[in-house]
């Protein structure tokens, strides 16, 4: 791994247990500048724990998270959660401008434009649909120009069509702003559509690190795409008592 010094994020030997049960057992991961990495894995395999440690919300038992930029070892990291976590008492625009300095407030307006909600800035979050709320959450993350965006199944609760739109939107803003992103998902197709690399987590360890070198935006009916998707699915089924025919 000679690229470790050049990487934006370097995760090494992460271990984490909750009440004696090992959730992460030695996770190593590097993320390059501008790279999009998708993390897949069955529910409960430790994906959120990994993301929360990277975000600094949780401390690992062992191992390190270092970043080549930023004093706290992380640089400018933003997180999108499965629920939008908007503040109900702030209007949409003020939610996006959360913790921006007064002089930076037009960034909030630009970010709302990026997600196509420029004329909803005066509304209360409670009137928005689930998909719109997640767009506002995305705008909030973009407004502070992160160099790393962590996404923990942000589209899991959306209907299929809205999810597809959001995937396209995330890809678009990722290209525009060129941040690195780490996307946790349980959807093999989403991982194959958005990841430069797909990592599969099984029982707290990485079992697959698969580069996807298809042109973007990816054609989901192309045989190469379907093959990539099936490789991801197969990695998810490893360890099951009855793997079936996949």
């Amino acid at each position: 791994m000679g690229t470790a010094e050049a990487a934006l994020l370097n995760v090494a030997g992460l271990h984490k247990s909750y009440s004696g049960r090992e959730v992460l057992r030695g996770v190593d991961l590097q993320l390059q500048y501008g790279e999009a990495v998708a993390i897949v894995g069955k529910s409960g395999c430790g994906k959120s724990t990994l993301l929360r440690i990277i975000a600094g919300l949780e401390k690992p038992d062992r191992g390190t998270v270092t970043s080549s930029r930023g004093s706290e070892g992380r640089g400018n990291v933003r997180v999108m959660f499965q629920d939008a976590r908007l503040l109900p008492w702030k209007r949409v625009r003020d939610n996006v401008a959360l913790n921006l300095k007064p002089v930076e407030r037009d960034r909030a307006i630009l970010a709302l434009e990026q997600v196509g909600l420029q004329n909803r800035g005066d509304e209360w979050p409670s009137v928005l649909s689930g998909g719109q709320k997640q767009r506002v959450a995305l705008a909030r993350a973009l407004a502070s120009s992160p160099n790393l965006l962590l996404l923990d199944e942000p589209l899991g609760a959306l209907d299929a069509l809205t999810r597809l739109e959001m995937q396209q939107l995330i890809e678009k803003v990722w290209k525009e702003q060129q941040f690195s992103m780490l996307l946790v998902t349980h959807d093999a197709e989403e991982a194959a559509a958005l990841g430069d690399r797909v990592i599969s987590l099984t029982d707290g360890a990485i079992t697959l690190d698969h580069k996807i070198e298809l042109p973007r935006p990816r054609n989901r009916s192309h045989p190469d795409f379907i093959r990539a998707k099936q490789a991801i699915l197969a990695s998810l089924i490893v360890g099951e008592p009855d793997p079936g025919e996949e």
Binding site: A55, V79, W89, N99, S144
Partner: protein, 261 residues
């Protein structure tokens, strides 16, 4: 358009049906002489007494004394309940130290404190203000405490990921999240405040609406007793209206208060 106008007409008119009917019945039974004036004076007599008491300055003075009493109690007891609720809501240590003791005293009915209060303070102004303070303390303590404890942890976590410091998390997340519960506590406190005020004033006082009615009762001036009772009802209604206005002004984002600000 017409449907909504009709709807708002309903909203403003219908709550008046019962009071108007009550006064009409009251008028009917008293004017016809079915009920003696000593038991129930007619609405006109009561209105005249109210006017006379206002002209003489007696009613405004008693009203001012009662209101000052009520709000001193609210300020002392409510302020204490609010502050302690905040501290025990934010700090687990303070919660462990104080909460179970406070919860224990909550089960003592307010009026059961009366003998003790008389022993401590006599029947002076301190006793009355103490009674009111004790009564408003609990609703504000409990609701502030509960409001802060039940703040969505996910929002706090989001705030820290987005770089808010402790002060920012407090003012932008915890306080607004707890506000609906705090205002609800205030509304409950205003309710118990009036009840306690009435009891405290009827017991013994030099001035105040309760004293006015207690004295009037001795002279069988039922009309003045009724004036006092109606004033109490109006004060209660006024306090409730203020609490509702505060909710509407401070919580415009809450879908329960559908006003668009």
């Amino acid at each position: 358009m017409t449907v909504t106008r009709l709807g708002s007409l309903r909203q403003t008119l219908f709550p008046w049906i019962v009071p108007v009917a009550a006064v009409t019945v009251w008028f009917a039974v008293t004017v016809t002489g079915h009920v003696p004036q000593r038991i129930l004076p007619s609405p006109i007599t009561v209105a005249n007494s109210a006017i006379a008491l206002t002209r003489s300055g007696e009613l405004p003075r008693d009203l001012a004394v009662s209101a000052a009493r009520a709000f001193s109690g609210l300020l002392i007891g409510g302020g204490l309940g609010f502050t302690l609720g905040f501290i025990t809501g934010l700090s687990t240590t303070a919660h462990l130290v104080f909460d179970s003791s406070i919860q224990m005293f909550r089960t003592v009915p307010n009026l059961a404190l009366l003998p003790l209060v008389i022993v401590w303070f006599g029947i002076g102004e301190e006793a009355r203000i103490f009674m009111i303070s004790a009564a408003v303390f609990f609703p504000l303590y409990l609701n502030t405490h509960h409001g802060i404890r039940s703040v969505d942890k996910g929002l706090v976590e989001m705030g820290s990921v987005y770089g808010l410091n402790r002060g920012g998390i407090f003012t932008q997340i915890i306080l607004p999240a707890a506000l609906p519960s705090i205002l609800n506590g205030l509304r409950l406190a205003l309710g118990t405040m009036w009840v306690t005020l009435i009891v405290a004033e009827t017991l013994a006082a030099e001035a105040g609406i309760g004293t006015m009615t207690a004295q009037a009762r001795e002279f069988m001036r039922t009309d003045i007793v009724l004036v006092g009772t109606i004033v109490y009802a109006l004060l209660g209604k006024l306090a409730d209206a203020i609490a509702r206005l505060l909710e509407r002004k401070l919580l415009p984002w809450n879908p329960a208060y559908s006003s668009r600000g």
